[in-house]
Amino acid sequence: MIHLQNVRFSYPRDSFALAVDDLKIPEGQHTAVIGPSGCGKTTLLRLVAGILPIEQGSINVQTLSVHEMSQNELQQFRIKNIGLVFQEFELLDYLTARENILLPYRVSSALLLDEAAQGRCETLAATAGIDHLLDRHPAEMSQGERQRVSICRALVTNPKIILADEPTGNLDPENQQKAVDLLKSEANRCEATLLMVTHEHDLLLNFERVINMGEAI
């Protein structure tokens, strides 16, 4: 369960302010977040991931109080629980698809890059249909392939929460559906909660719940 209560956040020197009175997302639920640009969809995801600190209120993920964690604790929390997917994919151009997928294991000492992790990378790539591209660099792939690599990277650590920030924003309709299918099937397999920001109203039917950030939450 992700529970946000009386959360207030604003950026310094910016008139934008986010207010969430009470938002509960049950464990394993697939939720879409919609709303006009600048309404705070990405900010919501960043608050849940502990990337941005809230000004007041509380954010609890299962039994953990995200708002009370130190930087180190937040780091460990993200490594163990969160899988992040970005609209711009954010792949490192100097790494191959395989190395990008396994990147969390390279940057964190909390994760061990063992045979099991390598095997998960292979399985995920096969599921995503990019197993033949594992030794290629991002520059040698299409947009859809890159996004699938990015999704595999978010899922390789078996996260409990998958936060996807407009992962279909740069994809054609066919690839949009493929990306959502991949996210949903892997979220089901890991019994993970999926929280996805999107502008594509055609995709909303894929989700059990839709949160409109344009309205008061």
């Binding site: 490192l92 151009d93 100097y94 790494l95 190395e99 390279r106 940057v107 964190s108 990277r153």
Partner: protein, 392 residues
């Protein structure tokens, strides 16, 4: 912090940025190599010059630059210096032995050194094959001359005419190679040695031709001031000295006035050396000078060291600037990678991991540059003696 991850990411990044890395490594290596390289070359040149100068007691030559005299006498340098009559070298009397050097002509790009057999004894030179020259027209090749020209005992080498279009000039002389010297690692390896008289034949001071009747008006144009016949060009002059025609070669003029470029002066003892130095210092009107090669090279190197120090100081300043620019390149490059670092943070990297990653990349470039510089300096150290020998 994940050290293996840092190394993995760092090496992958540097591999992907090959162009930038190669440029940085080249710039940094060069800024290390240049000052050290100059020092290596100067040190090698110093040791090379001093070693030869140290074993050459005194050098007699025409008035002029002592440095040019010493360089001509020790290294047979080009262009040739002013000559002086060989008679002047005899004037040292019983105080010293002298060895004439007439280094003026060339053969296939190598200096022909007219001297005496004493030169080989003095320089402790031995023949690798064959013998030292025995008669007029014989020559002995330095080891590198023989190797580069592919010549050996029994072959011949022809002197190069000084002026290609001088119709009245001296004919080239074909010399018989009687020996090849053992490699000595100095200027003797790159010289063609012959007797000083052979060098005078090349000069045109001696020549050989078919016997001519002085009364034969077809062959004799006139008589010169000394009563020698001036021959018609139709009289064939010998351009090679053979056992058959060696008797026909003859000198015109006073042999004591024949030129040499230098003479190695070997005083009988220390006292004789001091007397000789004093004698030549006092007689400012003398047409010759007596130089001490060790002193001349000392003076040369005191100047060279001053210049070297200035050059090294300038290069160190350039090196510091290069390192500064390299740091700037890294800082700017890291500014462009802020988004990448931010994503790494979101994926679980802590701040120290990011800092170590950046430090690893900078350190790797520095280490590669130092390794490249050390490798090239080692190579330079190995080839410097050869380069210095070929230049000097």
């Amino acid at each position: 912090m994940n050290s293996s991850g840092i190394i993995h990411l760092g090496t992958r990044y540097l591999r992907r940025q090959r162009g930038k890395v190669v440029l940085l490594v080249a710039a940094l290596s060069l800024s290390i190599i240049l000052p050290f390289g100059i020092s290596i070359f100067v040190k090698e040149a110093e040791s090379h010059l001093r070693s030869r100068a140290r074993v050459t007691p005194l050098m007699l030559g025409a008035q002029g630059s002592p440095l040019e005299l010493v360089f001509n006498g020790l290294y047979f340098s080009k262009p040739a210096i002013a000559t002086f009559p060989i008679q002047k070298s005899k004037e040292v009397g019983d105080l010293a032995n002298t060895i004439p050097i007439y280094a003026k002509f060339s053969a296939d790009g190598f200096r022909i050194v007219g001297t005496s057999i004493d030169y080989f004894r003095f320089r402790n030179l031995k023949t690798d094959s064959g013998n030292f020259m025995a008669r007029l027209g014989d020559c002995v090749l330095g080891a590198e001359v023989a190797a580069e020209l592919g010549l050996g005992v029994g072959d011949s080498i022809i002197s190069t005419p000084e002026a290609m279009f001088d119709l009245a000039g001296v004919y080239p002389l074909k010399m018989r190679i009687t020996g090849v010297l053992t490699r000595s690692g100095n200027a003797d390896d790159r010289a063609v040695f012959c007797d000083v008289k052979t060098a005078w034949v090349i000069e045109g001071l001696a020549h050989g031709h078919d016997e001519v009747d002085p009364k034969d008006k077809k062959s004799v144009l006139s008589m010169d001031a000394e009563g020698n016949p001036v021959l018609n060009a139709s009289v064939v002059q010998f351009n090679e000295i053979t056992p058959d025609n060696v008797g026909d070669f003859h000198f015109h003029g006073d042999a004591g006035e024949f030129p040499i470029t230098a003479a190695i002066v070997i005083p009988r003892d220390q006292k004789s050396g001091i007397i000789l130095k004093g004698r030549y210092q006092e007689s400012a009107t003398e047409s010759v000078q007596l130089a001490d090669p060790a002193v001349v090279t000392d003076e040369l190197f005191s100047t060279v060291f001053q210049i070297r120090n200035f050059v090294i100081a300038a290069l160190v300043a350039v090196g510091i600037a290069t390192f500064g620019i390299a740091i700037l390149v890294f800082l700017l490059s890291n500014k462009l990678r802020i988004r990448e670092f931010s994503n790494l943070r979101n994926l679980g990297a802590d701040l120290s991991t990011i800092r170590l990653l950046v430090a690893f990349e900078a350190l790797a470039v520095l280490v590669i540059s130092v390794i490249v510089a050390i490798a090239l300096l080692t190579l330079l150290g190995a080839i410097a003696p050869g380069i210095v020998r070929s230049v000097l």
